[in-house]
Structure formats: C-alpha cells, structure tokens
C-alpha cells in the first residue's frame, strides 16, 4: 500500500537546499519523493492546497521535558507529543531528568516505545551523562545509543565535576553524539530564584548572577577544545555567554547552542509581582542580555531555537515564588512567539527561523530531518504566516498550562503537521 501526499503551491522554505519559492512537494510512503514546480501528482495522491502557506521541513525541538516516567501529572509522552504536533513540531528530544532518570538502555527503550505508540511527533530519547544524574560515574552511553539515544545530558542539573565532563566529551566521540550541558555553577546559584539585579534586590529574592552561567559555559568550551568533543550548550541567556560561544566557534571548537523563545522575548521584569509563571532556570535576564541572545541567534552563534518545554501542574506554580518550580511550557507557543516578536521585528527572517527550528536542530543532534531533499523523511510543517491568534492555555494539548504568555496576541501559527507523510495534526 502506498500513501501519496501532494502539497500544492506552498512557499517552500528549506534552508538545507537554499530553497525559498512557490513549489509543490510530493511525499510517497513517508519520504520526500520530489519537489518542484507544478508537479502533476499521481491520481491517487492526497492533494493539499498550501497556497498562502509556508511549507517547511518539520520543526525539531531538541529540548523538551515529557515528564514520563515519574511525573505523569505534569505531562506524559502521549500528551507531550500531542502538544508538539500542535506546535508544528515533527520531532522532539526528550530530556532524561525523569523519575527514574533515563540512564540505561532499558529506560531509553521505554521512551522509544512510548513515543512510537503515541503516533504523533517522533520522540528521540536523550540519555543521562551520569548514572542517576548523580554527577559521579558515566552512564552506559554506548548501550543507550544502541537503544536509540541521540545525545546525552544531565539536564536539570549541570555536570559540576569538570573531570567527569571531560570523560563524557571524550567517551561520547565514539558514538558521534553531542554532550548537552545545562550550564550553571551551583556554587553561585543554588538556593537562588531569579536574575540577580535591582529587581531581585527590591523583591527580596536571592539572585543568580550571569556569572553563574558564564563560568560554566567557558569551562565547557575549554573542555570541548581540550577533548575535541562536541558540546551542546543549553538555553543560553547572557551576553557574555553568547560572546564566548561566538569566539569558540571562530576558534573551531565543536559547539552548538540553544536560544529559548522566552530568553529571546522576556526580561526579568516579567517576574514583578512574584509571577511564578516567569520563574525559570536560567532566569529571565536584562534587556541587554535579550539583545545579545537575539544577535547570537541571528549570526548563528546560537544554532538552535529550543523551547525547554517544562510542564508543571497548576498547583505547583500556585505558590510563593521561592517555593514554585522552574520552567514553562513552550511547544505550543514557540512558532507564534518567534514569528511575532523575532521575525516580524526583523531580528531574523523566516528562512533563518526555519534553519534555527529545523535544520539547525537536526545538525546539532545528528538527526534525520531538517531537510526536504528527495529521499528525506516526509516530515513537514505547514505554517500560516498570517493567522492572528491569542494564547489561551486552556486550549493547550499539553497537560500543563504554565506559560507567561497567556493572552498574548500573536500573528503566525502552525497550520498542519506531517510526520512520515501522515498528517498528525491540522488546525
């Protein structure tokens, strides 16, 4: 049985091939069969009119927390991938800070199996760097890669032991996977709740200085340079951090890095009034830092937009600021936020946006996808650049509602999400 889908007359934006023109795209049996002008599709093809819409290689989020196993009250793999496809994502990389953590091949296999069962976005497991994420001994990285892990990280925690980080960067090279790190020096940040500044001083909240993140970024860059390993730095939020990555790339260090939508559009002022939905780690910083993260995204110092989708149950956020957990859900708002606040404002163009949300992530984590070249996976995101909508957390497919963007009016939204040639979501 063959399934044929013909996407007619969309604006195909595929930075991997330098394409940005009105084209037709034919998917057959879950892969890209052809791309070109006025393709006369097979008679049995499902024809989808995409005029006025953007046709992009499927968006990939390399940083999501699906919370399963262990915190299914916040999110499950099934609900997380539904949120993903509703946000235009065809693939997500699941962070391993679950309970128990994903630190052995059986746990990786569980994520793979549940992801397949969910029949929506592809789920790529990320394994732990260290056993139990304890930061002491290397997890069985090779076995986890054999079971389907695409990267390793102790995300949620930084790897505080520089010796262990060196070993991870060396050992992982045998498998061609990146080592992702959450850069944070806990000695400078533990027990602290927001950016350290006049705002934290006024609110009486203990602050995390930029240096807490930057010390760790610089250490990781030095270790990547020392070992020749591939480091992926998560959710960069400071000006100096962006500069350090830019300089390291110029020296030839193998580094990729993320910008999160919230660090691109919000400053620490969002915390005023002790708003727990604006509590995240790394914290929202100053306008100067936001400008630097934007510049880093534009010039490619930051390769990837990743949401750090971090669902929390509503009553966990309904508490005093210091008692609330860090994080926000991001999968279902990323496209709208980026198109409205970043693309419309001219920080990057739509081509660069798609590079940072599809091609860049695929390159950073060595994933199939991120391209619509013939023979590639038939993962496609169709975006409506003109749709105006309002963020309503009650409409989220995610189990959780923790977003600082409630009520934001946005222009631009996912329209249809196709995974392996099959439409898994449409507006």
């Amino acid at each position: 049985m063959s399934a044929k889908v013909l996407l007619k007359s969309g604006r195909v934006v595929d930075p991997s091939q330098g394409l940005d023109e009105i084209l037709d795209l034919l998917l057959v049996d879950g892969i890209v069969a052809s791309i070109g002008k006025e393709i006369s599709g097979p008679e049995d093809a499902d024809v989808i009119d995409c005029s006025g819409l953007i046709v992009s290689p499927g968006l990939i989020d390399v940083h999501v927390h699906l919370r399963e196993p262990g915190e299914e009250h916040k999110e499950t793999i099934a609900t997380g991938v539904q949120a993903a496809v509703a946000g235009g994502y065809t693939a997500v990389c699941a962070m391993p800070n679950t309970d128990p953590p994903i630190d052995d091949p059986a746990a990786v296999g569980f994520i793979v199996a549940e992801g397949r069962k969910a029949q929506a976005a592809r789920v790529y497991p990320v394994g732990c760097i260290s056993v139990q994420r304890a930061g002491e001994n290397l997890a069985p990285i090779g076995e986890m890669v054999d079971a389907g892990a695409v990267a390793i990280t102790d995300d949620g925690n930084p790897v505080m032991n520089s010796g262990l980080m060196r070993l991870a960067l060396e050992y992982a090279q045998a498998f061609g996977i990146p080592v992702a790190d959450h850069p944070e020096d806990l000695g400078l940040s533990a027990g602290r709740h927001m950016n350290e500044s006049i705002v934290s001083t006024r609110l009486g909240l203990a602050g995390k200085p930029n240096a807490a993140e930057e010390v760790h970024i610089v250490r990781d860059l030095l270790l990547a340079e020392l070992t020749g390993g591939q480091i992926h730095l998560q959710h960069i939020s400071t000006e100096f951090g962006v500069d350090a990555i830019r300089q390291a790339k110029a020296r030839g260090v193998r580094v990729t890095a993320e910008a999160s939508p919230h660090h691109l559009v919000l400053t620490e002022e969002a915390v005023e009034g002790y708003r727990t939905e604006a509590k995240m780690n790394p914290p929202l910083r100053t306008a100067k830092d936001v400008a630097a993260v934007r510049a880093g995204l534009a010039d490619g110092s930051l390769d990837v937009i990743a949401t750090d989708h971090a669902p929390h149950h509503y009553d966990e956020k309904e508490s005093a600021f210091e008692d609330a957990p860090n994080g926000l859900v991001g999968l279902e708002t990323a496209v709208g936020i980026i198109m409205t606040d970043i693309v419309s404002e001219g920080v990057i163009d739509i081509v660069t946006m798609i590079d940072r949300m599809s091609c860049g992530p695929a390159r950073a984590f060595g994933l199939s996808g991120g391209t619509l070249s013939e023979g590639a996976l038939g993962d496609v995101t169709v975006i409506d650049p003109n749709l105006s909508w309002t963020v309503d957390p009650n409409a989220f497919r995610s189990k959780s509602r923790n977003t600082p963007f409630t009520g934001r009016e946005l222009k631009g939204a996912p329209h249809r999400t196709i995974v392996g040639g099959r439409t898994v979501w449409t507006r």
Binding site: E196, S197, I198, S200, T201, R202, L203, G204, L205, A206, G207, P209, G273, Y274, D315, E318, S319, A320, F321, E322, D323
Partner: protein, 328 residues
C-alpha cells in the same frame, strides 16, 4: 466638595499593607500621624477602646516571632478585635497545607483581617491577591516588614522631630533583611539620606541602585550618621559562610562603646530585635544613652493600631475622636 477634598487629600491605604515600597510619602505620614493619638491608649489603666469591635483578625505566623506577634496582638486587643493566633508549629497550617489552601480556608471562615508572617518573599502579596480580607504583612522572607519600618520611622521622628534630611545608616545583614528594605523605602520617601554598612557578602549586589550610600566600615558610618539602625546577625549566616566568625563580626562591624567614643551625644541607635548582645551590638550600647530600642517596642503597638484602624476603614483625621468616643 472643596471641604471634602481638603479633609481627605491622601488616598486611602487600599485593602492591604504589603510593603512601604508602594506607599506615597503622604500615606506613610498619614499612618505615623494616626499612630500619635493611639499611643496614649497603652498608657491608660484600662487599655481598651471599641474601635475594632466585632472584627475578626487572624495572626498567621509561619515563622517564629515573639515581639511582632505579641505587638500585633496587643494592638488588636486594645482596639477590641477578636483575634486568633495560628503558628506553623503544631497546627495543620504547617508543612503540608499549601499557602493557597490556607488562604481559601481563612476566606471560608469570613474573617476580616489577616496578619501574616511567612518565610517566602512575596507571600503577603500572594495571600492579598487571593482573599477579600485585609492582609497586613508582618514580614515576608527577605522582602518587607512594613510595620517595623513604620515604627522605626515613628521612633526616629519622636526623637529628632523630623525624618527629612536626617542621615540614617542601616548596619548589618542587609541581604537577608526585610527590615532593611522597609526602612530604606520609608526613609527615602520621607526625605532622609540613607546608607548601609555591612561586609559586602551581606549586601544585595544592586543595593546602590536603591538610592543608598554604602559604607565599608562601621567607623565611617558612625562618623556620618545621625541614626544607626543595627540589624540582627542571624547566627546561621555564619554557618553559611557569609562571615568568618561572630567574634570577627563583633570586632569589625559590631556597634561597641569604644567605636562610639567620638560619636555625637545625640546619635540615635535603633535595633529591631531580637538582639545578639556581643555580636552586632554590645550591651553597654544597647542599654546606653544613645539607645531607643525599647521606645521602638512601645511605638510598635501604636503604629500597628494605626494600621489596623486605617485598613478597617477608619478616617485618618478621626482617630482621636474614635478613641474618645471609645473612652466615654
């Protein structure tokens, strides 16, 4: 209409007293002026007036407190309110019940006011946003302790006849101190010059941006100031490594008689309590001629009566009348 505008030119306090940062100079002065007539009630043989008769007030203390809780309780009782004390230890309102559930339960019991102390910054606002009752912040984390700030202002005004243009230095653990923030906001709004003096480990990084001077050494602060407000050094700060030892802290930042040798006679010394004698303040200073520490405690009751009266809808100009009517 003109008369009405003239009689109440100051906007009311609103529903809650969460901090001094959001109050205007006029509102702060209104509270201090309202406290004046209430001072006398505590000097009577029968210390009770029916200003808050029929009002129900809950004193909700998630953190241990002696002085503040008792001061509020006296203020409430002397105004004839019905009061209930809830402390975290030994009640269902300890670990386990969330703050939002506590708020809902209180709301369901139809109380009029809550006086709350909580270990988390912002907890008072959190509660105030969720219940229709008046909320008075009796200290939230390291954020604010507005009634302490007000009673410090009242004590300074009592002794110096003004706050405007006075030089006031807060000495000690500014980083963890809600008293420091309320003092800084209140003093600046009333036109004082404000400084802080502490080891840099106990100063918030952006303290200068609040509009205060920073002194590195206590000797400089003593030479500069008209008033020193000496803050408690919590003993756990030493365990956390903010200062090397209590002995060193006393020698270098402690307010001692020897350091006050050349201080002007009218230098005023305040301490919000509870004191660590021999750490941030020596006994001969605490008990000496510069000290107004017990006046602060007395003023605390009057200031809290004023706040309770104003938040319950009392008119600032009518405090004296309300009191007299009560006495009749």
């Amino acid at each position: 209409m003109t008369a009405a505008m003239a009689s109440s030119p100051v906007p009311a306090l609103g529903k809650d007293l969460v901090g001094l940062e959001s109050l205007s100079q006029e509102q702060i002065l209104m509270i201090l002026d309202t406290a004046e007539p209430f001072k006398e009630i505590s000097e009577r043989r029968i210390k009770k007036v029916p200003v808050l008769r029929g009002k129900t007030i809950v004193n909700l203390f998630f953190e241990a407190s002696t002085r503040t809780r008792i001061s509020f309780e006296f203020a409430e009782k002397r105004l004839s309110a019905d009061t209930v004390n809830i402390s975290a230890a030994g009640s269902s309102v300890s670990k386990g019940e969330t703050l939002v559930d506590t708020a809902r339960n209180l709301e369901a019991m139809r109380i009029d006011m809550v006086v709350m102390r909580h270990g988390s910054s912002g907890a008072a606002k959190f509660l105030a946003d969720r219940i229709p009752s008046n909320v008075i912040n009796a200290g939230d984390g390291r954020h604010e302790h507005p009634t302490q700030g007000l009673l410090d202002l009242l004590t300074i005004r009592d002794h110096c006849d003004r706050v405007q243009d006075l030089k006031v230095c807060l000495v000690g653990d500014i980083l963890h101190s809600r008293v420091a923030r309320s003092n800084i906001y209140g003093l600046l709004k009333l036109g004082a010059e404000v400084a802080v003096c502490a080891p840099k480990t106990l100063l918030p990084s952006a303290i200068g941006d609040l509009g205060v001077k920073v002194f590195k050494r206590i000797e400089e602060a003593i030479e500069w100031g008209d008033v020193l407000n000496v803050l408690r050094l919590q003993l756990e700060r030493m365990e956390e490594g903010y200062v090397p030892s209590l002995r060193e802290y006393n020698r270098i930042w402690g307010v001692t008689a020897r350091k006050l040798e050349f201080a002007p006679q009218d230098l005023l010394i305040l301490h919000p309590g509870p004191m660590n004698r021999g750490v941030e303040i020596d006994s001969d200073v605490a008990d000496g001629p510069h000290s107004v520490i017990l006046n602060q405690v007395t003023n605390g009751v009057a200031v809290r009566m004023a706040v309770l009266y104003l938040l319950s809808g009392g008119q600032p100009g009518s405090a004296e009348a309300a009191k007299k009517e009560a006495g009749a």
